[in-house]
């Protein structure tokens, strides 16, 4: 959508918005319409030049700002936004339906009733809900109501959460007390942004790795530092002190290029050299085991050594005959 067209669409919704919510604040309008204060002022300035022939001040749309509040008058003909186009209606329906799958039953009952209401008001000849169900699937293992909805509630009510979390970086289950700040869906997973009491900083937790959680009665006061302390989004390539360079075989190179993990690529005769940054190597060792012989660690040497020790430990595990161990002996205890 080009700039002027987007602006026209926005203004055709902004006028009815203010007509219905006279005295809306700048902050509210900027947030609802996703614009800066400057953009909003430009829109209002333009609206104030429009009206009916003969465009005398008495024919023009009235726009006034009192303090931080916006009022619009003399624009009854713009009382409502434009009707949906068929593809807008389909897009809205699809978005509702996709989110309902991601957010689990808790959020989806409100979504479904909103969709029914829209359907009743707008009519929907072109698209049946069953058709959407059949044509689109969007589920993740972490779309679980028993985790998502209490977390969201904790974010809103500022409640301390105690949870058992599998830290992929360290390969360990840990007990933590966190102050949930917000939820995020990115890269196909739900994430929790929370202040972590243990480390004293804001951390990003993947929701499907939360084994158990309890929303306590205890409330926290979100500090400005906590809110601002959000790490870069969980979906950007990991940032960290350690620079790792890996060379993928030609066979795996196209796949490697698709991974958001890597920040740099360099083509070589033997394969594709990929660079990433991280704070810990432990998780990467497991990824390397997964990628197997299709990848070679170029740097750092420490990672090669750690991987070597780990592979030896695993070979020792597999050298034993399976099924002979006592059931109370977990495979983990065989690790070096």
């Amino acid at each position: 959508m080009s700039g002027p067209e987007a602006r026209l669409r926005r203004m055709l919704a902004l006028i009815p918005y203010v007509l219905k919510h006279q005295g809306a604040t700048f902050r509210e309008l900027c947030e609802v319409f996703g614009v800066t204060r400057e953009q909003l002022i430009r829109d209002l300035e333009l609206i104030f030049l429009c009206g009916q022939p003969d465009y005398t001040p008495a024919d023009l749309i009235e726009v006034s700002i009192e303090g931080d509040r916006v009022f619009i008058g003399m624009a009854d003909y713009f009382a409502r936004p434009v009707r949906f186009t068929p593809s807008e209606l389909a897009g809205l329906y699809l978005a509702c339906s996709a989110l309902a799958r991601l957010a689990g039953p808790a959020a989806s009952s409100a979504l479904h009733s909103a969709m029914r209401r829209i359907q009743r008001a707008m009519g929907m000849e072109e698209l049946s809900p069953e058709e959407v169900e059949k044509s689109l699937e969007m589920a993740t293992p972490d779309s679980r109501e028993e985790v998502l909805s209490p977390l969201l509630e904790a974010c809103e009510e500022h409640r301390v959460v105690e949870m058992e979390y599998f830290s992929y970086g360290r390969g360990e289950l840990t007990r933590r007390r966190v102050h949930p700040l917000s939820m995020e869906f990115g890269m196909g997973h739900w994430y929790l942004h929370a202040w972590d009491e243990m480390s004293g900083e804001v951390r990003v937790f993947r929701v499907d790795r939360i084994k158990d959680l309890e929303v306590t009665k205890e409330r926290f006061t979100p500090h400005r530092e906590e809110e601002a302390g959000r790490k870069g989004t969980s979906t950007t390539p990991e940032s960290g002190e350690i620079v790792v360079r890996l060379r993928f075989s030609l066979a795996l190179a196209p796949w490697a290029r698709e991974q958001a993990l890597f920040s740099e690529f360099q083509e070589e005769k033997e394969g594709l050299v990929c660079t990433l940054r991280t704070d810990s190597l432990s998780w990467l060792e497991r990824e390397l085991l997964r990628w197997g012989t299709e990848v070679e660690v170029l740097h750092p040497p420490e990672l090669r050594e750690r991987l070597r020790r780990r592979v030896k430990g695993l070979l020792a595990l597999y050298a034993k005959r399976s099924g002979r161990r006592r059931t109370d002996e977990s495979p983990a205890s065989c690790a070096p």
Partner: protein
């Protein structure tokens, strides 16, 4: 009588808020009717400062004067046609709306046609209607009943849900994201402010994802809903060059950050799964001239049967049943992820055993080894051996090609 502000006055250059304000003051000298308008608008002018209105991309300079901005012209056109009780003639439009007046007859006609088609593309219902019973002369009108979006009363919970959809759609992850965002913008008067539940903070949910190739997602989805065969160039992982594919798309799914299309592949003559990011061309309809469907989905087709096909089942090989033991650290996680697909049992110590179907040994080894010491293949011996082979291969690479025996 209220003096008329001519288009030339309105478009005097440079157009600053202050210039408009001066015009208003000027008008005020002639008419008391203007007082209220001028006064009402003062605070805004103050907050807007006296910086000039930035030009729109459609803005032209005519005879050394900045033309009325295109947006202003379009807004005024919509306003006029909406308010008109009778159809408005071209001549009336040209004489009334600033921005059309200074154009020659021919260029006005072109300009108006362009504006009209742009507005119609946005869904604005500009109708052509006869002016009299003879229908010899026609005019334009926007019927309010066709223009106005019906008002919808949402509950606070529904509003929150739709605001989430708004954020979700603006990330551009799903087919028709832009259309959904545009629809939600139109619903905004009915949705209201940032948190309809009355909280001080916006609803604490964010969506952050790399934008997908939206045109392709939209094209695949529409084709699957309308059952239209599509043609596109596809680069499968193993091959370096893309190949033309003809596919009947049955449906699409999103899994761990990527979109896939499930459909009948005419090239292979069987059901295949395509990752949308590996489509290297536009997705075009094979039979655009045919308004009806090109194919039907098999009656027993269920998308969920395909959207959870795991990598180690994703091959032609004969199926084997494998048992994998998982440490207490991760057993719960695997059970949650796969427990609805495969038999899973917990042992007394909290570890678990899952029984999976394996068609692709490579992919199976990848999966098991991604858990390192937390997973061990118990059976069959052939797959245990495959894991050992893989481990020895890695060790060989690390120790500089020496043959290693464990």
């Amino acid at each position: 009588m209220v003096p008329r502000l001519s288009a030339a006055e309105l478009s005097s250059s440079p157009r600053t808020s202050r210039a408009v304000f001066v015009e208003l003051i000027h008008t005020f000298l002639y008419s008391r009717a203007c007082i209220s308008a001028a006064v009402r608008n003062m605070p805004m002018l103050a907050s807007g400062g006296d910086k000039s209105l930035p030009g729109e991309s459609g803005e032209k300079r005519v005879g050394g004067r900045s033309a009325v901005s295109k947006l202003e012209r379009l807004m005024n056109l919509i306003a006029m046609l909406l308010e008109a009780r009778r159809p408005v003639t071209l001549e009336q439009i040209r004489n009334s709306i600033p921005g059309y007046q200074q154009e020659s007859a021919a260029s006005f006609k072109r300009m108006f046609e362009r504006d009209k088609s742009e507005l119609r593309e946005m869904g604005i219902p500009i109708r052509v209607e006869p002016l009299d019973a003879f229908g010899e002369e026609t005019g334009y009108r926007i019927p309010k009943e066709d223009y106005y979006l019906p008002e919808v009363d949402f509950t606070p919970e529904e509003k929150v849900a739709l605001l989430l959809v708004h954020r979700f759609a603006s990330g551009g992850l799903i087919p028709l994201s832009r259309e959904a965002s545009s629809a939600l913008l139109k619903l905004s008067p009915d949705l209201g402010g940032a948190n309809p539940l009355g909280g001080a903070r916006p609803v604490p949910v964010r969506f952050d994802h790399p934008a997908e190739a939206l045109e392709k997602l939209g094209a695949f989805w529409e084709a699957s809903v309308r059952r239209k065969t599509v043609r596109f160039a596809y680069r499968s992982l193993g091959s370096s060059k893309p190949r033309e594919r003809l596919v009947d798309p049955y449906g699409m799914y999103f899994d761990r950050g990527a979109w896939y299309v499930v459909g009948h592949c005419h090239l292979r003559g069987e059901m295949r799964i395509f990752r949308v990011s590996r489509v290297e061309s536009d997705v075009v309809l094979e039979h655009p001239e045919n308004p009806g469907p090109d194919f039907e989905r098999p009656p027993d087709f269920r998308l969920s049967d395909h959207s959870r096909v795991l990598p180690w089942e994703f091959e032609e090989g004969a199926p084997q049943e494998a048992e994998v033991r998982l440490s207490p650290r991760i057993a719960w996680w695997v059970e949650r992820d796969l427990g609805d697909i495969y038999p899973f049992r917990y042992l007394e110590d909290g570890s678990g055993v899952i029984r999976v179907t394996v068609r692709n040994e490579e992919a199976f080894c990848n999966w098991v080894l991604s858990f390192a010491e937390d997973a061990e293949v118990l059976s069959p011996p052939g797959l245990r051996e495959a894991v050992r082979r893989r481990l020895r291969g890695i060790l060989r690479g690390l120790e500089g090609g020496r043959d290693v025996r464990s």
